[in-house]
Symmetry: C4
């Protein structure tokens, strides 16, 4: 039964579990790996793999958004990132890719680079460039800038809009500005919206009720993220995904059939983590740092979250450049020559599904789990 | 329900949780960070932030007590510290700030420095100097020396008296001396008293009944503290704070409205820890080592607890000097260029409150928690 | 009672325990070490110790299979290993034994070495060589190659056939090939079959119903294995063994007396681990890396799993060569001059049994356990 | 309630807790440190502190047995140690004190040194020497050698006999030798016997019924011990002590008043550990490595258990020499200039008792505990 613990007299806490705390238990059936499908569909858009890119400038440029799209995933460009601040950010990104410090000096460099204002015309240009390449166009905007930047973004012709902050709610309270009313905003839109991060059942349910096509579960935590130490917010992903899946079921019932997709964003590094996230109930995963290991990654193996450049309260450390593992295609589909689960990410997923006897992701969400702390 | 475990036949232990074991769960609402208040009031004294300084000579001199007061917190001078043992302790403090050993040699130097007797006239001088600067004057005295030093302290004109030992009880038993009777002592005083540390519900309730305005929860444990290894006493702070909050509620009911403040002292290093301590039920936090990172810290980044200089049984290691992060104001209010939660401590708190949709600290004490062991 | 936890709303996980989480509790009796027997019998084959070799080329050549057999254990040659790919693999193995990298470069070397096709005539030759030495002949084949290689293997005259993949089920589903039907296959065989790995009660029970003489429990995980990170599958061995022992009991009842042996394969490094695996209910243990410490180990102290050479998705890192501890006999029976439990593996087991007062392995399976996380 | 967990179907394990998992919770009373007594009495022998030395040649020579006795503790000489194998072992001990390897080479040196036979006349000589110094004479013998060595030991005039093996039971089964019948053996003796180690309630109760004056709880585990990895036996000391205390209570009731003392041997390194062991219910502690830090320790700071020299199956690593902390008196009683709880071991205990308001050890056994995993 649900683990609720009284941590002190009258104060309780729900026990949460990380992906690292759980593992997959094979069932009594196995299956040919070639009979397994990893296909995913969001609204009218079809994908070969349930892979959404985390919108970081370290991995997602217009070129890599396109490359990922061609390979069957969903690339996402951050319209508040460097590509929409600089006409040609390549020199800036190059300088950011070669820092040899992962502390204060690196944070300052990120803060400086992102101090440049966002330019509407660059948003238009970047979105059109991706669209011209013929892949699904998804861009990320923060809730704070959605109202001001959405017109430009939509005019430029996106397919999917990703509204993503560390923590997003369906009910933002403000005494000064007119806050973003997600429900009204989404109702007026023609394009599907993915919104998040969300960390609990109730917020996820409310976000589903805004009309979003997908909800991001998690705050994108990884070893470089510091949301935990800076804000005290830590999201045990296995629990967050399972709770969100319950919201998906309840919302499906409440609406008589509207299925909202869950995209897990946080603590997903290896092919095994992808399998576990889907096994907990996610429909797709959002990959950040793992994509920085592709040869085409703009920052040449360096890694940072967008929150790492916050001018007042940076939340995320700079990840020193690591050597590439191979082309993006190899990182996604192998063959792998790295035994630690960083390559052939979706080949690994496919094999995990086969070892457990499942045919597709929807079935695989029911896989058995075992709980242990490694 | 409460976790009580039989560790062996007939011997039970209550399960305790550290701040590090819990994390904050955002609610379904978010709020503008500018609409959030971190104000705190103790008796008639108002503070911009719920921040009390741990009374260590490494961080608190008459100057920094004043500086912290001006910035909206509560500085605390230790009347049993070097400033009340030496006419001019700056040379001593400087020599203690540059030790390159964190073992026995450092402990010996601390023991030597604190072997000098306390001088009543210096107490008077220091208290008057702080008062003259126009900020709230708080000084710390140990329970053992309260009866002998209180007359001098009170004559000098303090606003708040902090009676603090590692462990304090409302009922000290002695066959030799006449022990401090806290209830009688406080009843006779005109100034509000903060007393502690306390680690459990019952002791906290008894300390509240002495008439104290505030109770310190915890023994000031941090990575340099060795109360655990020397005395076997380890205080899981999340549990200790929640239990103390229960005592606060019960005492409020018992007295028909007397609200005693809880000041959490231990394991609070980052802005996230501050948020978690308040989320567990504390009214304010006591900060030790984190303030040593301010440029004005007397010991230039070195750190020690007062118990680290005990002549017979030192409990606390010397913390080697770390480079300053910036002015005290920046440490408290940012902007930060350090992603690990050491800077913009109260800006981080404010943002955590905003992400969870709360307006003030009293509301934020009800925030949801999740339990996991990182 | 059984620990099933709801990790999120509507998603549960069974709590699993590793061998490292449990320890043996001595009973109120002790016994002379000379009165203890570690004998094991599978079908008609008798062994002095309950020791099966993990079929890795790093430890098992025709020579060491023979050596282990003479010393009272069961050696196992991998017919898909280098000895059945190369006429004389000694140079290849020597080159693989001296790699100084445990990352991608090593994986590539393994992949190259195993790219050479398997040769039927070499299988015949190797099996005959072992048989000629007069010890029990066991060879390992993967489920995928069982149908094609079994005729050759059986013609060559094996005593025991080991069908082993990372995860094996009694019901493999395929839309393209005619899959291996274990039940029919085993029914037609004259030699006893050991099959696995299995990780749960149900799969183990189904594997027992195929007519297997033994079931391998676990996926051979050790610190070099990466099944966890690549596939998300992690097997807490104490739980897996105990669950499999329940399947053994239930199958015994269901068949009115057919006893199927359980061979634990994973996380068994020291003599203490062997004792714990048997104490959880195993009949024998499968030893991988521990045997690489014998002076006669073909790879001279280096270590790799067969899955480490997979061309698309390697699962297992290369273990750099460690100096030998002594002859295989000393590794198994002592005397030991290594205090960490790597030598005198079965002397350590025998002493553990004596300290707990048990006479043989079957009795020792009932030993008391204590649970703690070290 | 008692934590019994089903680790797999039909196999349960009791959850055990280490001293490190628990901590002391102060009560609502405090007390003057000078009003606290740490006195301990076993049979007719009175001690200032509840301290028994672990019988290791690294710490206990005839001289240090005497020194510890004079300081108020109980020294113990191992009659199977070097002092009873060599006429003058000082050169051997010196050579063993200066090894610079803590691996196989050191184990071999220990095995060589202890290969020399035990000599009865040396036992007589050593026991008489200690007796002549006027302190309580305690010697340790293993259960295997008790019958053969006891006559010599008793003739030499010991006060207390310590029969100690890693694991001892009241019922040793042997088909070859006539085993030691503890009950008959002790009944015939005039001197009180301490016997152990024991790890559970039932064995402890049976050992009490042999007539022993004291039972050793635990196997002397510390970071150098390898009983866990070699035998699979790990003793969570908090649970073992509490269970043994239950046996003491039940035996007290069963006999109408015979009180058998519990001496905790394992995981006790700091003054805090001593406090926790007594708080769990022990009457005294057995100190091994902590006494090696005294300036007079024979092996000059090096450390080994007697089991570390076992010729077939050594269980215990060699501990490289550490610099002395000061005279034995200072290690026991301070003053300390080491903050990590290694000095002033019993001053620390006394202060812990005072902080919790207790007057003597018997009272302190009731102290409250909190459970957390640090």
């Amino acid at each position: 039964m649900r683990d609720v613990v009284e941590i002190g007299l009258g104060k309780s806490a729900q026990r949460g579990y990380h992906l690292d705390d759980v593992a997959i238990v094979p069932s009594r059936r196995t299956r040919d790996v070639d009979d397994v499908s990893t296909a995913w569909q969001l609204d009218a858009y079809q994908f070969k793999i349930p892979c959404v890119a985390h919108p970081s400038d370290a991995t997602m440029s217009p070129e890599t958004v396109t490359e990922l799209g061609r390979l069957g995933g969903l690339g996402t460009l951050n319209v508040e990132g460097l590509w929409c601040r600089y006409e040609d950010p390549t020199k800036i990104i190059e300088s950011l890719s070669t820092l040899d410090d992962d502390g204060i000096a690196a944070t300052r460099r990120l803060q400086e680079a992102y101090a440049e204002p966002i330019k509407a015309e660059l948003i238009t240009e970047r979105v059109k460039a991706i669209g011209a390449a013929g892949v699904t166009v998804a861009v990320r905007v923060s809730p704070q800038h959605t109202l001001s930047l959405a017109p430009v973004i939509l005019d430029a012709g996106v397919d999917i809009l990703v509204i993503q902050g560390t923590i997003v709610s369906a009910e933002h309270v403000s005494t000064s500005d007119e806050p973003l009313n997600l429900k009204e905003f989404i109702a007026d839109l023609d394009v599907p919206v993915i919104v998040g991060g969300s960390t609990d059942y109730k917020t996820t349910l409310h976000l589903m009720r805004t009309g979003a096509a997908g909800v991001i579960v998690g705050v994108g935590a990884d070893v470089w993220s510091t949301t935990d130490t800076v804000l005290g917010i830590r999201v045990p992903m296995a629990t967050a995904i399972a709770d969100a899946a319950a919201a998906r079921r309840d919302y499906l019932d409440e609406t008589g059939g509207r299925y909202v997709h869950l995209i897990a964003d946080g603590d997903i590094v290896t092919s095994g983590d992808i399998a576990k996230a889907l096994g907990c109930g996610a429909d797709a995963v959002m990959l950040g740092e793992p994509l920085s290991r592709a040869a085409s990654a703009p920052a040449a193996g360096a890694w940072w979250h967008s929150a790492a450049s916050h001018p007042q309260l940076p939340r995320g450390s700079y990840g020193l450049a690591q050597p590439p593992l191979g082309p993006l295609e190899t990182v996604l589909y192998g063959p792998s020559d790295d035994a630690d689960g960083s390559m052939n990410l979706f080949g690994g997923l496919r094999r995990a599904m086969a070892k457990c006897g499942y045919r597709d992701i929807k079935e695989f969400q029911k896989v058995g789990l075992v709980l242990d702390r490694p």
